[in-house]
């Protein structure tokens, strides 16, 4: 079965997010003075062949831990949507 996977890689809370901080300073300059807590994350999308949703999740977790995210500064969430018809 083919699954579509969306991985969001975000900063570990407490780790500086200079891009988010810069955007947070830029928005009020345009008049959006009610904005706070801006953070900038990375989204990775992929398709995956696997026997089951569980198998897909296990494999994606492994990819995240080994390559897609750096656990020292990043956290990730994985969203797997149903099998895509091949």
């Amino acid at each position: 079965m083919k699954f579509t996977v969306r991985i969001d890689v975000t900063h570990v809370p407490g780790v500086l997010d200079p891009q988010g901080a810069t955007v947070e300073r830029a928005l009020p300059a345009l008049g959006y003075s009610n904005v706070s807590a801006v953070s900038i994350a990375k989204t990775i999308r992929l398709e995956l062949d696997a026997d089951s949703p569980d198998a897909a999740r296990t494999q994606v977790d492994d990819m995240c831990q080994r390559l897609l995210a750096n656990p020292v500064i990043e956290r990730y969430t994985v969203e797997i949507s149903g099998a895509v018809s091949a």
Binding site: V15, P18, T22, L68, N70, V72, I73
Partner: protein, 228 residues
């Protein structure tokens, strides 16, 4: 027998010839190691130089750590061989797990290209053995992701074990505890953001980097002698 210093070249590395020039000026032999090689041949020390290995895609150093040569570099380090990562090389060594922590984007979101003042904090690393604690060195930095970060426990460990090797006198990038370079517990693996090879001749504006690369070559020579 001439001491051999291996210099790893990934696609996108751009400081290998600068490092090679200084290594040879200091009387050692520079050996360029292509990232696809599965061994570090017979070198006595390894330098992972600066640049943009594999385009720095995904994260700096993230793809480079999977290059075939990195397994051999890891083995060399585990056997006590000197390994020094400069700038992008430091980022590669943290991604490879040879050094703790990570390097994130500079505070202020600016690429910093400047000569900075460093203070030598520890002489227990292969890169600082011939330097003096408290010495001030003027060495260029040239990076976007040089903002060192690690968890509190790691920082406490680095400090307690005297593994912060060099600090910025005037922090240019937001680095935790002004850290410019660190080493592993054994002192044979070192990573730093500043480029000692670019401060290796008075003509370049500073020769303060020479003491660091001399220390490395001395450590490599000692090792070569021991292994014979």
């Amino acid at each position: 027998m001439t001491t051999k210093v291996g210099i790893v070249v990934f696609p996108g590395t751009n400081c290998e010839l600068d490092v090679a020039w200084v290594v040879e000026e200091l009387g050692a032999e520079a050996v360029l190691l292509w990232h696809g090689e599965r061994s570090v041949r017979d070198v006595d020390a390894v330098v992972v130089p600066g640049g943009f290995a594999h385009g720095d895609y995904l994260r700096t150093g993230a793809i480079a750590r999977f290059s075939p040569v990195m397994e051999a570099v890891t083995d060399h380090a585990a056997a006590g061989g000197p390994v020094v990562g400069i700038c992008n090389g430091f980022q590669v060594l943290t991604e490879a797990g040879l050094l703790p922590g990570a390097l994130q984007k500079n505070t202020g979101l600016t690429f910093v290209c400047d000569t900075v003042e460093l203070e030598v904090v520890s002489t227990r690393s292969v890169l600082t053995r011939q330097a003096e604690v408290g010495a001030r060195l003027h060495i260029p930095i040239n990076h976007f992701e040089g903002n060192y970060v690690c968890d509190e426990r790691t920082l406490a460990e680095l400090k307690a074990e005297n593994r912060v090797v060099v600090r910025y006198v005037d922090n240019p990038n937001g680095s935790l505890d002004d850290i410019a370079g660190i080493c592993n517990a054994e002192g044979n693996v070192v990573g730093l953001m500043p480029h000692p090879e670019r401060a290796s001749d008075a003509l370049l504006g500073s020769s303060d980097g020479v003491v660091l690369l001399k220390s490395l070559i001395a450590a490599a020579t000692t090792r070569a002698t021991m292994l014979v």
